[in-house]
C-alpha cells in the first residue's frame, strides 16, 4: 500500500520540463497561427468581392450586353444567361449518365469490373479541367467546325460525371439491404426496387451529389475557353459561341479598362452568389436527408 502511494506521488511530482512545455505552447501557437493565416485570405477574398462587387451590380449590369472595348457601361446579361444555358446542357448530359453509373456501381458493381469503373471515375476526377477542354474541342468543335454552347456543355458534363457517379454510389450503399429485400419479398422486380425504393430512399443524398458537381463546374473557366469561347451578344443557339459569366470575368479582369475591372468584380460576385446558393441548398438537403434516415 505504502509503496503504491509513494509511486503515485513520484509520478505526480515529476514535473514536465520547461523545454517540453515550451515546445507544447509553441506547437499550439503555430497551429493557431496557421488557422489565422488560412482564414485571412478567405476573409479578404469575400470582403473584396462584396466591397467591390456590390457597388458595381446595378440594373444595367443585369440587363445589358457588353459595350465595345473601352466604352463605359453595358453589362453581363448575356453572360449570366449563357452560363445558365451551358450549365443546363451540361446537366442534361451529365446527370443521367452519372446517376446511372452510380446505380450500376452500387447495385451490380460489387466485383472486379466495378472496381475498374470506380478507379476510372477517380482518375477522371483528377484530370485537369484544361485537358477536358482540349478533349471537348476535339470531339465537338473540330467536328462542327466552330465553337459552340454544346461544346462547353459537353466539357462541363465530362467534369460532372465522376463526382455524381461516386456520390450516387455512396448514397445508394447507405440504404440498408433489408429495404431491398422487403421489396423483393413483395415480388417487386429488381429494376422497380432500384428506381422506386432504393433510389427514392437515397434521393436527398443523390441530389446533394448532383449539386456538389454543379457547384464545382459552375465557376469553371478553363474548359470553356476554346469550347463555348464567349460572345459579346445574346445567343440561344446550341451551335453558336456563347458567353459565360466566368469567361467574362476572366476577359474583363485581364483587360486594361477600369470600367471592365469594376464589372469583373460584379461578375465574380454574381458567380459566387450562384455557387454559395447551391452549396447552401446542398447543406439543407443533406440535413433533411439525415433527419429522414
Amino acid at each position: 500500500m505504502a509503496s503504491s502511494t509513494a509511486l503515485t506521488n513520484d509520478f505526480a511530482a515529476a514535473p514536465i520540463s520547461l523545454r517540453r512545455r515550451l515546445m507544447d505552447w509553441t506547437a499550439t501557437g503555430a497551429a493557431v497561427a496557421a488557422v489565422v493565416l488560412v482564414l485571412a485570405p478567405l476573409g479578404a477574398i469575400f470582403g473584396y468581392l462584396v466591397y467591390k462587387g456590390i457597388g458595381a451590380v446595378n440594373w444595367n449590369f443585369l440587363t445589358q450586353i457588353p459595350k465595345p472595348p473601352g466604352e463605359v457601361g453595358g453589362g453581363m446579361a448575356n453572360a449570366i444567361a449563357g452560363s445558365a444555358y451551358i450549365l443546363m446542357i451540361a446537366s442534361v448530359i451529365g446527370v443521367p449518365i452519372g446517376i446511372g453509373a452510380g446505380i450500376y456501381l452500387a447495385e451490380y458493381g460489387r466485383n472486379r469490373f466495378g472496381d475498374v469503373i470506380r478507379f476510372t471515375a477517380d482518375v477522371l476526377n483528377g484530370v485537369p479541367s484544361i485537358v477536358i477542354g482540349i478533349v471537348a474541342y476535339g470531339i465537338v468543335v473540330l467536328r462542327q467546325g466552330h465553337f459552340s454552347a454544346l461544346a462547353g456543355g459537353v466539357a462541363l458534363a465530362i467534369m460532372m460525371i465522376p463526382t455524381i457517379t461516386r456520390a450516387t454510389e455512396e448514397m445508394l450503399l447507405l440504404v440498408p439491404n433489408v429495404v431491398r429485400e422487403a421489396a423483393y419479398g413483395l415480388g417487386v422486380s429488381r429494376w422497380r426496387t432500384t428506381l422506386s425504393i432504393t433510389l427514392r430512399t437515397a434521393t436527398s443524398g443523390v441530389i446533394t451529389g448532383v449539386m456538389l458537381a454543379f457547384a464545382r463546374v459552375a465557376g469553371e473557366t478553363a474548359p470553356l475557353l476554346f469550347t463555348a469561347f464567349g460572345n459579346t451578344y445574346w445567343n440561344w443557339k446550341i451551335n453558336e459561341p456563347t458567353a459565360a459569366l466566368s469567361l467574362q470575368v476572366f476577359t474583363y479582369a485581364t483587360s486594361p479598362y477600369d470600367d471592365w475591372h469594376r464589372q469583373a468584380w460584379a461578375g465574380a460576385l454574381m458567380l459566387i452568389v450562384l455557387i454559395v446558393l447551391s452549396v447552401t441548398a446542398v447543406r439543407i438537403a443533406a440535413g433533411r436527408g439525415m433527419k429522414g434516415g
Binding site: 517540453r20 473584396y48 451490380y108 485537369p128 429488381r190 478553363a222 470575368v249 479582369a253
Partner: protein
C-alpha cells in the same frame, strides 16, 4: 374451430392476389430487369469510354508534334510559333517551380489547420471551422485570379517583394524589378487554393488514427504536442503524404488563377520575381489562337504530358491515403 379458418384463408388469398397483381403489373420483369441492368452498365461503361476518349483525343492530336520533335520536345526551350519551332521546357519548369513553391507554403499551413481542428480546438468550433476552410475549395479559380491581380499583386509589389530583396536578396532567389506579377504570385495563389484539399485529407487520416493511440501516449506522461507528434502524425504520415501529393496534383493542373498572375512569358529564370509560364496556362492562352497544325499539335502534346503526370500523381496519392484509412470501418451497410 372450423369457423375462423376460412376467413384466415381468404385474407391470405387476398394478399397473395395483391402481390401477384403487382408482379403482373411490372410484367415481364426478367426482360425489364435485363434491359435496366444493361442501361446502367452502359452508363458505367461511359465513364470508362470517357477516359479512353481523352487518351485517344490527346494522342491523335499530338501525333504531329511527337513526329516532329520526339522526346526532345520536353528538353527544348525555344517556343517560337513564327518559325514553327516548339519546346516545352519553360512550361515544364514553370509548372514544377510554381507547384513546389505552393507546396512549401501550403503544407505547414494545411497540417497546422488540420492539427488544430482535430486535436486542439473546442468541439463547438470544429464544425464551423472545417466548413469555412472547405469554403476556400468552393471558390472558382477565376475569382482567385481576379483577387490576386487586384489585391495580392499590389501587396507583393509594394510591401513583400521590397522586404524580401532587402533581407533575403543574398539567396539570389529574389532578384530583378519587383513587378508583383510572376512566379512568386503564382506560387502564393496556388498555395491558398490547395490548402483546403491537403488539410481535408490530413484531417481524414488523423481521425482514422484510433483514440486508444492518443490515450496510450498521454498515459505515458506526454504533453499534448508530444501526443500529436508521436501518437497521431507519425501513424498518419503515409496518408498525410497522400494528401500533399493530391494537393500537388491540383497545383500542377490549375489553370486560370496562375494564368492571370504568372506573367506568361516562356522564359526560365532563377529569380522568383521573374515572369514565367506553366503548361496549363500556355494551353489556356494560345489554344484558341493557334494557327497551323504543328502549333496546335504541340499545345495538345503539352496537354497530354500534363494529363499523364496528374494521373500518376493522383494514383500515388490515392494509394497512400488508402493505406491509412482502409482500417476504419466503411460507412456502407455491412
Amino acid at each position: 374451430m372450423p369457423g375462423p379458418q376460412p376467413v384466415a384463408k381468404q385474407e391470405v388469398a387476398g394478399e397473395t392476389r395483391v402481390a401477384t397483381e403487382a408482379l403482373i403489373k411490372t410484367g415481364g420483369s426478367e426482360v425489364a430487369d435485363g434491359i435496366f441492368r444493361y442501361a446502367m452498365l452502359a452508363c458505367g461503361l461511359c465513364v470508362l469510354a470517357l477516359v479512353g476518349l481523352i487518351v485517344y483525343q490527346l494522342a491523335t492530336h499530338s501525333h504531329l508534334s511527337w513526329q516532329a520533335f520526339g522526346l526532345k520536345f520536353f528538353f527544348q526551350s525555344a517556343w517560337d510559333p513564327v518559325n514553327d519551332e516548339y519546346g516545352a521546357l519553360p512550361f515544364v519548369y514553370g509548372t514544377i517551380v510554381s507547384s513546389i513553391l505552393a507546396l512549401i507554403i501550403a503544407v505547414p499551413l494545411a497540417i497546422g489547420v488540420a492539427v488544430f481542428i482535430t486535436e486542439m480546438c473546442p468541439v463547438w468550433l470544429r464544425g464551423p471551422l472545417s466548413f469555412t476552410t472547405e469554403l476556400l475549395a468552393a471558390i472558382p479559380s477565376v475569382i482567385y485570379g481576379l483577387w490576386a491581380i487586384f489585391v495580392l499583386v499590389p501587396l507583393l509589389r509594394n510591401y513583400v517583394q521590397p522586404f524580401l530583396v532587402r533581407y533575403f536578396g543574398w539567396t539570389t532567389l529574389f532578384e530583378g524589378p519587383p513587378f508583383g506579377i510572376g512566379m512568386l504570385a503564382a506560387g502564393i495563389i496556388l498555395a491558398i487554393m490547395i490548402v483546403p484539399i491537403i488539410s481535408a485529407i490530413t484531417r481524414e487520416v488523423m481521425t482514422a488514427v484510433p483514440q486508444q493511440q492518443r490515450e496510450a501516449v498521454l498515459a505515458l506522461g506526454a504533453t499534448r504536442w508530444e501526443m500529436i507528434r508521436t501518437g497521431v502524425l507519425r501513424n498518419a504520415r503515409a496518408g498525410i503524404m497522400g494528401g500533399i501529393i493530391l494537393g500537388l496534383g491540383r497545383a500542377l493542373g490549375e489553370t486560370m488563377a496562375v494564368t492571370m498572375v504568372i506573367g506568361n512569358r516562356p522564359e526560365i529564370a532563377k529569380s522568383l520575381f521573374a515572369p514565367g509560364y506553366t503548361m496549363a496556362s500556355v494551353i489556356a492562352n494560345e489554344f484558341s489562337e493557334a494557327t497551323g497544325d504543328l502549333y496546335l499539335s504541340s499545345l495538345v502534346e503539352v496537354g497530354l504530358a500534363l494529363f499523364i503526370v496528374t494521373i500518376i500523381v493522383n494514383i500515388i496519392a490515392q494509394f497512400l491515403v488508402w493505406t491509412v484509412t482502409r482500417g476504419t470501418p466503411a460507412r456502407a451497410n455491412g
